[in-house]
């Protein structure tokens, strides 16, 4: 389709640009009048929050990189110098450091939202899978970022995690050497991690773009898990959801600010304020809190290769989640058993996180193994069977008339209409 775009903008400058490059028309279509289900609850803020978080990380990261020295001799001191001597360097660093934690908090809630309300189901399978790719990229970025301050946990975390690849048969050792750029974690490792840590966020941005495009093809899911049927069921994105996302953004920034300004080191590990020393191993090597559940899965398998496979399997299983969950009903609101099991799953993951932060001995090992087993049981056994066995509650006819077709079951509309919201 070649030809100038017929722009409806009145302003001559905007019209001139829009005729040749219809960016303004696109923005209006995708973020202005974009029809959005009118019954979102505040869980639907977290996609926008993740986007904001990504931008904050890139912005602070660029300025940190201007003052960072990617060498084993200078990295630790340069980070201290940023905090002490660079103008507002402490702010940059603490925002970036806690921004990683905030990012995972936001994304984990975003994922919980997707699982609870069945947002991954047809036709949004690819949207969900792209999301899992973003999660993987985020994890790689966060891991490499944590190495950069070159503290004890940076160094030993990098050693432990890169060594995992040596469990791969035949090519394992070769891959590890390639990752290290040598025969141990050292200056070349730090250099390539810095390079990749700078690159990855832009890759994430690209994949996020695909995520948003896919979202705007299918449209958003909603707490009822039924498709909008008429115009009555939707609202234009602006101003309804721009303002609702803004409320969420303010609360999010509030939590973020409390971490950054009052307890910047709260979520970190004290050992990372000791400069990396290959000759001294910390008592317990633990990753950042957001990796602890996966770390627990890794450690609950006695064999190295088995542990690595299980850990990556814990993410890989998310890729096929749309096909493991056989229930045709999306929202947990209408799936009484699934809804309860969702909370059991959350508790399971939290317990895994707790165990992951503990030394692997005694009861911790057993609890870790039980929870690991349940993690996979949930996806591989419970979801496929439950979808076929469970009797869902009757679905409402449409988003606007959630009460009309109600039979005997509990009223989802009553649960939906929070007193704070006038939906």
């Amino acid at each position: 389709m070649v030809g100038l775009h017929k722009s409806e903008f009145q302003n001559p400058v905007i019209n001139w640009i829009d005729t040749r490059l219809p960016l303004f028309t696109m923005m209006t279509k995708e973020y202005g009048v974009f029809p959005t289900p009118k019954n979102f609850n505040y869980f639907w803020n977290f996609g926008a929050l993740a986007m904001i978080n990504l931008m904050i990380m890139i912005a602070t990261g660029i300025f940190l990189a201007m003052n960072y020295n990617a060498s084993t001799a200078g990295a630790f001191d340069s980070v201290e110098r940023i905090v002490r001597d660079v103008n507002y360097g402490w702010l940059l660093r603490y925002v970036h450091m806690n921004g990683a934690s905030m990012f995972f908090i936001v994304v984990y809630i975003h994922m919980f939202r997707g699982m609870y309300y069945g947002s991954y189901k047809k036709p949004r399978e690819l949207l969900w899978m792209i999301g899992v790719v973003i999660l993987l990229l985020m994890m790689a970025t966060a891991f490499m970022g944590y190495v950069l301050p070159w503290g004890q946990m940076s160094y030993w975390g990098a050693t432990v995690i890169t060594n995992l690849f040596s469990a791969i048969p035949v090519v394992g050792e070769y891959i590890v050497t390639l990752l290290w750029g040598g025969f141990s974690v050292d200056n070349p490792t730090l250099n390539r991690f810095f390079s990749l840590h700078y690159l990855m966020p832009f890759v994430i941005t690209g994949v996020v773009f695909l995520h948003v495009v896919a979202l705007h093809i299918t449209g958003s899911n909603n707490p009822l898990g039924i498709e909008p049927k008429s115009e009555q069921d939707t609202l234009p994105f602006h101003p309804y959801y721009t303002i609702k996302d803004s409320v969420g953004m303010c609360v999010y920034l509030l939590v973020f600010a409390v971490l950054v300004f009052f307890v910047p080191d709260y979520l970190g590990h004290s050992d990372n304020y000791i400069q990396a020393n290959p000759l001294v191993t910390p008592t317990h090597i633990v990753p950042e809190w957001y990796f602890l559940p996966f770390y627990a899965i890794l450690r609950s398998v006695p064999s190295k290769l088995g542990g690595v496979l299980m850990m990556f399997g814990a993410i890989a299983v998310l890729f096929v989640l749309p096909w493991l969950d056989t229930s045709p009903v999306r929202s947990a609101k209408f799936r009484p058993i699934y809804r309860q099991l969702m909370y059991v799953f959350v508790v399971d993951v939290v317990v895994l996180g707790y165990v992951g932060g503990k030394p692997p001995s005694g009861m911790n090992v057993v609890i870790g193994q039980v929870c690991t087993a349940y993690y996979f049981l949930h996806f591989l056994v419970i979801l496929p069977i439950l979808g076929k066995m469970e009797k869902p509650l009757p679905l409402p006819e449409s988003i606007s008339n959630p009460v009309l077709t109600m039979g005997g079951g509990p009223l989802p509309g009553a649960a939906l209409a929070k007193p704070m919201e006038k939906i």
């Binding site: 002490r84 303010c250 910047p264 633990v286 939290v350 317990v351 606007s400 006038k422 939906i423």
Partner: protein, 252 residues
């Protein structure tokens, strides 16, 4: 159902709240510090006494290489006093003839380390390396409470403990055997401001100073934080009010 949901939320919150404590094995007795809390500031007099202890005691073995003499203005010393302190140290330089020489220290110099390198430190310290003290408060579980406890934690070893050569028993140190001999004793320093130099007072003062050098930006950070939080709380209310207004025409 409700119970499950509450359990899930509680478990999550509990995890976030306890995450840092997970790996911690010891509980150190908590002290009241001037720099605690959202409005905490460094007790200037205490930090200055703490600097005196660092200068007269700690700095004989421990470096503090991230810190500049100019940073001392942050604990209330005048620029002239800082200049004098810096000038009391000779720092290595290269002379006009290209040969190694020494010059008087400047406020822009880093704190001079007691040893030229780690090997020299180990050689002089029975094989042990006295850790750099720039961020020691942040680099230890328990932070200020730990350092304070450690300084007061020297005891005679229990009868059944066999001490290593040149090691000292400290009830708060991991493994209880520490290479550092008890650094502080009653009256170890004579405070310029006339404060009585009890062991507790010395430990408290030097810990306050160490907390300052680990987080010299803390007062500015918290001041800014209070303003940012107030602003965001206000913005949250305004935004929520606007949201209610905009959504007021949306019905079922």
């Amino acid at each position: 159902m409700q119970t499950l949901r509450i359990a899930a939320v509680a478990a999550m919150l509990g995890f976030v709240a306890l995450a840092p404590a997970l790996a911690q094995e010891m509980e150190y007795p908590h002290q009241n510090w001037s720099f605690e809390g959202p409005f905490g500031t460094y007790d200037r007099a205490s930090a200055q006494r703490g600097f005196q202890i660092y200068k007269e005691v700690c700095s004989n073995c421990h470096s503090m290489k991230q810190v500049y003499y100019r940073n001392l203005e942050g604990i209330g010393l005048s620029p002239d006093a800082v200049k004098a302190i810096a000038a009391s140290v000779d720092v290595p330089t290269i002379g006009d003839d290209g040969q190694p020489a020494e010059r008087k220290g400047l406020p822009s110099d880093h704190f001079k380390a007691p040893y030229p390198n780690d090997k020299a430190a180990r050689a002089a310290q029975n094989g042990a390396l006295p850790p750099d003290q720039s961020v020691i408060i942040k680099a230890r579980e328990g932070g200020a409470d730990y350092i304070y406890s450690l300084l007061l934690g020297y005891e005679a070893p229990p009868a059944d403990v066999k001490m290593g050569d040149g090691m000292n028993y400290n009830k708060w140190f991991t493994g209880h055997q520490i290479a550092m001999a008890a650094p502080l004793t009653e009256g170890r320093v004579e405070y310029a401001d006339g404060t009585k130099a009890t062991l507790e007072q010395e430990a408290r003062d030097v810990t306050t100073f160490l907390a300052f050098v680990a987080n010299p930006e803390m007062e500015e950070r918290k001041r800014m934080g209070v303003r940012v939080v107030l602003f965001l709380a206000f913005m949250t209310c305004v935004t929520y009010a606007v949201k209610r207004q905009i959504w007021s025409d949306v019905h079922h």
